[in-house]
């Protein structure tokens, strides 16, 4: 007979032990809150569902120390390939820390969870939320299951860090639905025996990946993550994503000779910032809050930056006794101050880029390939393109 699980109580309940959840848990625990971090899977960080490329400038700001336990490769730069495979190089010296590391996500996620645990957070595995608990309209906890056994967790604040497929926000009545044009469906193979340059992360644009791109991120020792993201609004038949990726690999002998040792898939939001990320007793962070950058598809940095703010605000709200939406809006204000403008600007850029035919991509990359950009910014890119192909930048006037 299975043993029952006792109901639990805490100050802050964080649902999901990915980077955003662990970051929230760590910083809430550092503020002295009683934190419980629950993870539906049996292992934190696995299976990996990520391209595993991150920039490095933000790591220190959220208290992450780079470690060889989760860094595979420190890249020097990025190469962006046009449809006809003209290439534009972004070197670290010019990109100002925009490029960074290729990491081992399972080790990285565990390291962040260890930081949260060391700060005082408690962790439960194989424990998933099945609904929120409500009192007078406010969320006061969750109904959960551990190893199939139902029980309740009462919390002053529930943080939804439950990823792309997040349910916490939906159960709490926060609109998180995505338009089909605001989602990329992604597939990636980790391949060994490939010829890739370990100094660069490579990005391939154009019709090879409609509304997204093909990426090659070196993992070292002839191993690379080779993946694709395709805009869902441009998908027609089932398994199109797999067909796009397989066709691209076939056409690139350096990768066609590779052998697959891992395969991951997932959904990535490429949406404008959510209008609402808090409700009475609830906060959303990370992929669950649609914080992924709509241009790059990168979500770890934004999720962690917001996670630190979320943990701090949640802990202080719990201590003060006011966990209403208006009290939690301080998180909303603070994360928007740091992230919202870039997210919105990058979404506008993405909405324009997904409409471009291959010839225009070729022109843009061609205009940029000879140029040393002093600073990587949308403005500098547009200026460089305008110099050589002014007709192209006419369409981007509102971004200038």
């Amino acid at each position: 007979m299975a043993s029952t699980v006792e109901d639990m109580k805490c100050d802050i309940l964080v649902v999901g032990a990915g980077p955003s959840g662990s970051m929230t848990a760590k910083w809430a625990a550092k503020e002295g809150a009683d934190v419980l971090l629950i993870e539906k899977r049996q292992e934190i960080g696995s299976p990996v569902r990520c391209g595993e490329g991150i920039s490095k400038a933000w790591l220190r700001d959220v208290g992450i120390t780079p470690s060889s336990r989760w860094i595979n490769v420190e890249v020097e730069g990025a190469r962006i390939y046009s449809p006809s495979e003209k290439v534009m190089e972004i070197n670290e010296k010019h990109a100002g820390n925009e490029v960074g590391y290729v990491v081992e996500r399972d080790a990285f996620d565990k390291a962040l969870a260890i930081d949260a645990a060391n700060a005082g957070a408690n962790i439960l595995l194989k424990t998933h939320a099945v609904d929120v608990l409500r009192e007078n309209g406010a969320v006061v906890g969750v109904k959960a299951r551990q190893f199939g056994q139902p029980f309740e967790i009462r919390a002053k604040v529930v943080v939804g860090a439950d990823g792309f497929e997040s349910q916490i926000g939906r159960w709490a009545g926060i609109p998180t639905n995505l338009q089909l044009r605001d989602m990329d469906s992604c597939l990636q193979y980790r391949m060994t025996n490939v010829d890739c340059d370990p100094r660069y992360c490579d990005f391939y644009l154009g019709k090879v990946a409609p509304g997204g791109y093909v990426w090659v991120f070196p993992k070292g020792e002839g191993i690379a993550n080779v993946g694709i993201g395709v805009q869902v609004s441009q998908l027609r038949d089932p398994a199109d994503v797999r067909r796009y990726l397989d066709r691209w690999i076939e056409k690139h002998p350096a990768y066609a000779k590779g052998k697959k040792i891992d395969m991951v898939a997932g959904g990535v939001s490429i949406s404008p910032p959510l209008k609402q990320t808090v409700a009475d007793g609830v906060m959303l962070v990370g992929d669950a809050a649609r914080m992924i950058d709509p241009l790059t598809g990168g979500g770890i940095a934004n999720g962690c930056i917001a996670g630190k703010i979320c943990g701090e605000v949640a802990a202080r709200a719990a201590r003060s006794g006011d966990t209403s939406k208006s009290a939690l809006l301080e998180y909303d204000r603070r994360w928007r101050a740091v992230l919202e403008e870039k997210l919105l600007r990058n979404w506008i850029a993405k909405e324009k880029l997904v409409t471009l035919p291959d010839e225009v991509f070729d022109k843009i990359i061609d205009a940029l390939s000879g140029v040393q950009l002093e600073k990587l910014s949308v403005l500098n890119i547009l200026k460089a393109v305008k110099a050589k192909y002014p007709e192209v930048t006419k369409e981007f006037e509102n971004l200038l």
């Binding site: 089909l180 797999r242 898939a265 959904g267």
Partner: protein, 93 residues
């Protein structure tokens, strides 16, 4: 457990209705889209990535450990999950 999110069920239903009317106008055989068509995710193809769960406008897909399931009472067979699945595990009909 499955709560209708503040989404767009009316738009989905309207799209389905318009499609049925166009089928009729252009002489295509009528296909009953709602509920009568089975919706199925192949356990052999599915990789439990959660993309379908995240995109479903009616929030009627759930990811239970390593399988996905559909809430038959809510699903209108809009087909968004079929399109979004990166490995083509879901089929309708």
């Amino acid at each position: 457990m499955r709560v209708l999110p503040p989404g767009r069920p009316r738009c989905i239903a309207r799209d389905v209705k318009v499609k049925c009317e166009n089928d009729e106008k252009e002489g295509r055989p009528p296909v009953v889209r709602k509920k009568d068509l089975p919706i199925y995710s192949s356990g052999q193809i599915c990789v439990s990535c959660g993309a379908c769960v995240g995109i479903c406008p009616l929030n009627c897909i759930y990811l239970d450990e390593w399988r996905i399931g559909f809430d038959e009472d809510v699903c209108t067979r809009c087909g968004i999950c079929v399109r979004a699945c990166p490995v083509g595990a879901i089929s309708i009909g």
